[in-house]
Symmetry: C2
Subunit: 240 residues, 2 copies
């Protein structure tokens, strides 16, 4: 598990998968504070909240690092990523707590394996020593491809796939931590939280009711950090 805790990783070039959300933005600032050189990478996989990508691009500019977008919309692949509320306009985005069973409809099957595999190719191309993504412990109940055992298996697979070319570390610095810890880390690092986007609905302001809005609000509350986010609706307390 040590390899997932990147505090022991020597400074290197890191391809950071950045969605524009709170977690990956804080990760970018954290990696920079640890002395890594960043190359930001975002993916358009047909998510209805692609608005988040403009936030990823802005954060890369804030950090002064290169940003690349892999846009799969014209590839023909995205229709096979449907059936999820995040990619299929016919599937409604559910309200409520992130860890609820109802949130399973937001799973995009195999999304992280696809994104990380492409990120590894980018890493090999730009001479990076690691790929990082911002999975956290709150993701584990419903997203299997955010769990530490997935990260380890993915890294083992890549070491075989690119033997002789690159031996990349797969970093998931928040894999053992909750989102409230990420908010605390971001607060200490001075991350401009207002320059992050979480809401799955992708409208003018955060809806305040979908799973990721719920989780975002809750995390600021638990961390005791002022939440600068404008939400369209009141905070409704709802046990998981």
């Amino acid at each position: 598990m040590d390899q997932l805790n990147n505090s022991h990783v020597e400074p290197t070039k890191v391809v950071a998968v950045m969605s524009g959300g709170l977690d990956s933005t804080v990760m970018g600032y954290l990696l920079r504070s640890q002395g890594h050189e960043l190359h930001a990478l975002s993916f358009d996989y047909g998510q209805s909240h692609r608005k988040e990508l403009t936030f990823a691009q802005a954060t890369a500019a804030d950090l002064g690092v290169p940003w690349d977008l892999v846009d799969l919309r014209a590839s023909g692949l995205t229709r096979f990523l449907g059936g999820s509320a995040l990619t299929d306009p016919d599937v409604a985005i559910p309200d409520g707590h992130y860890a609820h069973e109802t949130m399973r409809i937001t799973v995009v099957a195999n999304r992280n394996a696809i994104m990380l595999a492409m990120a590894c190719s980018v890493a090999a191309s730009v001479g990076a020593g690691a790929v990082a993504f911002a999975a956290h412990s709150g993701d584990h109940p419903i997203y299997p491809d955010c769990r530490p055992e997935f990260v380890q298996a993915f890294q083992a697979m890549e070491h075989l796939a690119m033997e002789g070319t690159a031996r990349l570390l797969i970093l998931a610095p928040f894999a053992q931590f909750t989102k409230s810890v990420i908010v605390e880390v971001g607060h200490q690092l001075g991350v401009p939280f207002e320059r992050t986007w979480s809401c799955y609905r992708g409208r003018d302001v955060h809806c305040g009711r979908c799973g990721t809005c719920y989780e975002r609000r809750e995390a600021f509350g638990l961390a005791g950090v002022t939440d600068p986010t404008v939400y369209a609706s009141e905070f409704v307390t709802q046990a998981p």
Copy 2:
């Protein structure tokens, strides 16, 4: 290793990665002969010999199975897959035997991990129980992502990535066999070899000199099967 030998696999729907080449075409006919239902899938990753894709499409039509193309050319990813003779017009495709050190320039780093991860998403979407690709033992010396240990690691990773969604088998029925065995199998199954394309140069006819042309000719010779391929140049015997 048993799981790589799909003769023990119960008939299921299989997403077959088909390039239009000899190996994956024979694989398609083999899987069908074993009672599997096929869904053919091809990838345009910027290979200069994209001519092969029209052969994949024709073979899917011959087999009467669905065919889908994932076209990554507009995604922004392909520029990171450069540096290989297969994707970079500035890198010359070498002549000579496939197993030569000079053939390393034809490696597209991490290509199979990307293609298989996408194929797994397609499999989950169409309700398939397996993904198949046509790596063979002659690929092992220079392509790490064609080796049985990679296939096993990839399957283990996917079982974790899609836990609760799909538990896919990754089939590589030729992983232990040489290309001449594939020619023999194809001959017995009545595969129309003239409807396959191997040459990395992708011109009007097979060049006869690049690694995959060399290997194709050699395999027909070793198998004692008449080669219907038209080559632009004479067969030059060259020890590996």
